[in-house]
Symmetry: C2
DNA sequence: CTAGCACGGTTCAATCAATGAACTAAAGTG
DNA sequence: CACTTTAGTTCATTGATTGAACCGTGCTAG
């Protein structure tokens, strides 16, 4: 919980957003949640994040209303972390950042492609559907591996994402 | 320079972007550069950032090709930091993040309003010009204080931004 | 019944980064 | 010559991150 103290003097929406989601690892946790990762152990294996940090980040995101922690079975009791509506609305900024990274920091072409499920069209780089002219919400999208993907990971999430997958539906 | 080591396993454009601009303070430095802040001392006064951190961040951004460091006078020799084209293309993700922060973390209405200089129209929340139907580049925009602004800062940059100001033009 | 395991954490020592204050250095000004 | 402005660096302290080890609950196989 660092940023708060010193970003406080900044009367700026960006600073406020960064106090919440600007910490190390946090955006990657949210990215995984958008793919459909829900369980502690899956975040852990897919991100290679220290356990203590993951616990802290999940807790902060729940407290901020970006993730919802809920019981998904009683025997044994297990909790899962699911994006709230507020969290889902982070899709445009996350996508814009990823697009910038793809354009300027990568040479191999897009790693993931996104398709609009209701019409089958591939999204353009600004996450608009060229056919519908809209920016579809996360739940109407499917991710598919792109030509730039070179994942050598073998955790369950990475493996599952080598096939097309509907965003937000449970993974793996 | 931390993120590199552990985000490395993530074959993901977002992770690559965050290795560069995901560190504490970095995005706020870029935001200021978009407003037109160019000099070390102005970043320092406007951000309340520790000097050592500012030096490190400016250096990293220059090395990454996001800022350009250039001599703007010889007597005495002075350098300024200016956004490159690559850096300017961070406008969409930064704007999207700020918009999210404004919607979900603020109650007072927008702090800054952006206008398309070539037609005088106020941008919509996705940074499109409703009149032109395009997303204008940074240099064609003007910032003006919005109803949610409550800045009590009195550094030169904050004061200058209480008046309309063309993005990227030198500040203060 | 008991041993082992899966899951979701917590704890802790070591390392690494951020902070803020003090200091440096070059050049110009009165 | 003293003083100021600008742009840094240095350094001790504090705080965050890391990775390994440990804990507790409740299933499951023998």
């Amino acid at each position: 919980m660092a940023l708060g103290k010193n970003y406080e003097g900044q009367d700026c929406s960006l600073a406020k957003a960064l106090e919440l989601i600007g910490e190390r690892w946090t955006m990657l946790v949210i990215r995984d949640a958008m793919y459909g990762v829900r369980r502690y152990g899956d975040f852990l294996a897919h991100l290679d994040i220290p356990r203590a940090v993951l616990s802290q980040r999940l807790g902060a995101l729940v407290e901020a209303g970006i993730l919802d922690k809920r019981r998904y079975q009683d025997h044994p009791p297990r909790e899962e972390y699911v994006l709230t509506d507020v969290g889902r609305e982070l899709w445009p900024p996350m996508q814009a950042l990823a697009h910038w990274g793809e354009r300027h920091l990568s040479s191999t072409g897009p790693r993931r492609l996104f398709f609009h499920l209701t019409c089958g069209t591939r999204l353009d780089p600004t996450a608009h559907c060229p056919a519908c002219g809209t920016r579809p919400p996360l739940e109407d999208l499917e991710v598919r591996p792109g030509p730039g993907l070179e994942s050598s990971r073998d955790d369950a999430v990475s493996v599952a994402l080598r096939e097309p997958h509907r965003m937000l539906t449970p993974l793996p």
